[in-house]
């Protein structure tokens, strides 16, 4: 039995209830953490029991037994409660079990959160990468200093050309124009989405630059419209809700 020497004297006094104040508090704190000293306390209490037995030479009067038995018969039998053990014997186990459960839950939660965080980071990085690519594409397509080259058959004079890239479900559209002739003042080219059913839908107004190039990026369009074709007319520069002139150019989907 290894009892902490600094507590040895105090433990004996504690076993007798003869320790008070800070010393008692200190011993109780130590007992809560030290199984060896708790065991020594049990033995010291056993020693005090021997001391108690040294006084055992008296016999109680007979009436004491009658008094007890009468009281027992009157006492309603209480419902049995489970054995209650010393709080410091059970408290550390209860606390340890609770802490273990809590630690496991926290570890699981922490691991889950870390996984979610890692997934989120991956997704964010992926989205960031896609966004950068999209920005580069759009920047290249829409750059005013971009060199737009349209390759056609040799000896063919340059022809006006329009390229529409349309995603129906998103309602997004990118239109690239090249070799377009300038329009007269107060006028502009207007792009039309020609749906499979219904009237043409306005898809942006543009004027070609000095090189005959122009772009239209994501004009306001309803989502999910099936496009049969795209068409271009010349309209007032503010745009028209419906074509007011003949179709200059027309293209259907490939």
């Amino acid at each position: 039995m290894s009892v902490h020497e600094q507590y040895a004297g105090d433990l004996a006094l504690y076993a007798m209830g003869a320790l008070v104040g800070d010393e008692r508090t200190s011993v109780e704190k130590h007992l809560a953490d030290c199984a060896d000293c708790r065991r020594e306390l049990e033995l010291l209490r056993g020693d005090t029991a021997l001391l108690a037995y040294s006084a055992a030479h008296s016999v109680p009067p007979r009436r004491s037994r009658q008094r007890l038995m009468k009281a027992i018969r009157k006492e309603p039998r209480r419902k049995q409660i489970p054995a209650r053990r010393s709080w410091w014997a059970t408290a550390p186990w209860v606390a340890a079990a609770a802490m273990t459960i809590l630690a496991v839950l926290l570890m699981r939660q922490n691991t889950g959160l870390q996984e979610k965080l890692a997934n989120q980071r991956d997704r964010t990085a992926e989205q960031q990468s896609q966004l950068e690519q999209a920005r580069e594409v759009v920047a290249t397509l829409t750059a005013t200093d971009a060199l737009h080259v349209t390759l056609v058959a040799a000896r063919t004079p340059p022809q006006p050309q329009g390229k529409a890239i349309y995603v129906r479900d998103r309602g997004s559209l990118i239109f690239l124009a090249s070799n377009f002739k300038p329009v007269e003042s107060g006028k502009a080219y207007e792009l039309w989405l020609v749906p499979t059913k219904g009237n043409p839908i306005a898809a942006g107004v543009f004027k070609p630059d000095a090189h005959g190039s122009a772009t239209v990026v994501n004009p306001p369009l309803p989502q999910g419209v099936e496009a049969k074709a795209f068409a271009i007319t010349i309209e007032p520069q503010g745009g028209s809700p419906a074509p007011t002139s003949a179709i200059l150019m027309l293209g259907t989907g490939e």
């Binding site: 005090t48 037995y53 006084a55 055992a56 027992i72």
Partner: protein, 176 residues
């Protein structure tokens, strides 16, 4: 076996058997009454204490854990503690279920108990008067070590040492 008898009595008491309570009283009332009388010094107060201790056991027999000691020494210790509380006019400091007592000698049977008591008395007689007095003041009068030091005019460390070595000397009687 007498030890088994104690366990059987406690089991019957837990089931509400009044006659088992009577049998346990017959076996241990002498110890409880003697300790209470030694501390309180009055037969009436000792009888009240005797009643209180056995009624506590009747109401809450599970307070004693038979896996962790013998009923006799446990009753002796909780009687002494409660009697000191009464003597010092204070509320009980410990729950009786928190008191775990471990003793080497077999105190269950009458023969073993009488032999053990004789050995303890011999051990006390062989101690110096100062040591025996320090033990008795602490145990039967409920004085703290500072009160004993003040009463005897001896250093605190000396009192601590006397009490601890006195208790260990009692244990040593049964170690061989």
């Amino acid at each position: 076996m007498v030890a088994a008898d104690d366990a059987a009595l406690m089991s019957a008491i837990r089931s509400g058997d009044e006659s088992a309570m009577g049998a346990l009283y017959d076996r241990y009332s002498g110890v409880v009454y003697s300790v209470a009388l030694r501390v309180l010094g009055e037969t009436g107060a000792a009888e009240d204490m005797l009643q209180e201790i056995f009624m506590q056991l009747w109401r809450r027999p599970t307070a004693f854990d038979s896996q962790r000691g013998s009923i006799g020494p446990w009753l002796a210790v909780i009687t002494r503690n409660r009697a000191i509380d009464v003597l010092r006019k204070r509320h009980p400091e410990d729950d009786i279920a928190d008191v775990v007592v471990s003793v080497t000698p077999d105190m269950a049977g009458d023969a073993g108990r009488n032999q053990a008591m004789e050995k303890v008395r011999d051990a006390l007689d062989s101690m110096s008067a100062e040591q025996r007095s320090a033990l008795e003041m602490a145990y039967f009068e409920g004085l703290t070590h500072t009160e004993i030091a003040a009463k005897t005019g001896e250093p605190l460390g000396t009192i601590k040492t006397r009490i601890r070595s006195g208790l260990l000397a009692l244990r040593k009687v049964f170690a061989s």
